[in-house]
Amino acid sequence: MLAAVENKPVSVETKPVLRVEGLKAYYQMNYFGVRREVRAVDDVSLTINRNEIYGIAGESSSGKSSLIKTIAGAITPPLRVVEGSVKFDFGGKELDVYAQRPAMKAARWKHLSYVMQGSMNVLNPVRKVKHAFHDFAFKHMGLREGEFRARVESHLQRIGLDPRVLESYPHQLSGGMRQRLTIGLATVCEPEFIIADEPTTALDVLVQQDVLALIKGVQQRMGSSIIFVTHDMTVHAAIADRIGIVYAGRLVEEGPTLDVFQRPQHPYTAHLIASLPRIGDTRKRVALPGKPPNLADPPSGCRFHPRCPLAVDKCKSENPPLLARNSGRVACWRAGEVEAA
């Protein structure tokens, strides 16, 4: 009996809430007859379960923002989906982001919402905060004015904000409060799926933990799933259930957070984790040589091979597939060997 009591409620539905299959999204440009193609998302497949926080890590220009934009169906040319599909499962109804446009539009914010990075850029500086809530959420909730206002106020109270902030302008609030507001904005409709793009990067260190706890709390209460994007591995360590590592537009490793940190299988992941500075440890950290690859002209074979300490000839010519290994998946020809090194 006691064994059944776990951290997470055992979900009856085993169907994942999001399935991405073989997704390829390229920036395609055609200037004066010269074609350029930037492969920002290249053959990514992943599934996200209900009630899960999935962390996506990777350096800037690795394509992680393009990936989540493509998942949210929020892309504009020159970024185009070339191949593959993104399918959500909201309450048993399957929704293909790129095949069912009108249904997707209706689902947005009600089922799928977005927490953006710069809170100052989300809230209009010359309008009161209440208008932002009205613009974003009113249409989707189907409530009358008064009920809507009451719902928003009680929601803000639950995330630790005084309802009076609705009557203030964004510049009157602190950075932490504004970030709380954008989280409130994204969760007021209680969506099943939230995409969070670097929600804590612009915050002062002292409020970072509170905001992370808030996100985790909201997620647990609503039982929703979150894709959490940041390049800060310590944030992933704190709240992600699973982590996916993106390098040069490809998913190179994926697994439960604890396993990724303790037994990284891809050399890039191993490097990311080994280079994290810790207080109480001044041992010299080795920085990765070279620079991030140019996605308009990526290296052949495995895209990490020019910077990889374990690269062999095969890595230069053949692209390693993402295969299941131990508790996760990894795309590396020498996957086992990092653990020993």
Binding site: S61, G175, V205, Q209, A238, I279, A287
Partner: protein, 279 residues
Amino acid sequence: MTALLELEDVNKDYRVGGFLDRSTLHAVKHVSFTLDAEKPEIFTVVGESGSGKTTTARMILGNETPTSGTLRFMGKDIAAVRTRKERLEFMSRVQPIFQNPFEAFNPLTTLDYYLFSTARRFLGLKDKAAVEAATDKSLQHVGLSLAEVRGRYSHELSGGQLQRIAVARALIPGPKLIVADEPVSMVDASLRMSIVNLFRELRDTLGVSIIYITHDLSTAYYISDRVIIMHKGDVVEAGRAEDVLGNPTHEYSRALRSAVLPPDPVVASAIIREKLRAL
């Protein structure tokens, strides 16, 4: 001991507000510290936004004058630098590195222009070959070469490489002190360590002292010799990095220290769960 840089009870006030609600903001209050000329070190100023750390840096660079107190560089009051010649002399000894390398370089100008003009201005070089030799030498110190940088624009390089070029530019005049204001906050985590390691190397091989301004306690612990923690303009704690960051005594520094998430999923997720319970 001869002092390289001496701050003596430095204060900086700003007048804020309009005509009717004018008030004074004390950005920096009673800051004093000394850097030794013979023993180059990495001196770190830690603080949140609004703590006065950038104002302190601007005063050291001579861009702001203190409201009261004195800053002396190699025995000379920075506020007394008046003539063009003195200013040039001072600037060749104290060089800045800025936060965002993408903003520090004009996107329409090739990067070598910055390096060449610095060499011409501070070293007084006229001859093209000599300018290029000086530039190449300082690029070698940061692990690059002129051949890699010549004719490139800022968008062609990564943030880490640009920040290295910013360091190389600062090294051309042969400075004694580099003031680096949040040099890694815009750089990716994977490239951050290469910049931080570079500072350590400059201290050891070239004998340059570095004032490293940051809000990131983990890199501060990793490279600093001495640390001061600033809070709302006050220095709340100062001392060796191991003591201040490993064993903080002031309330604010303890709060800062505990706000750092350890890169360990077991400990970090426990901290978040604890916070969640408190909410």
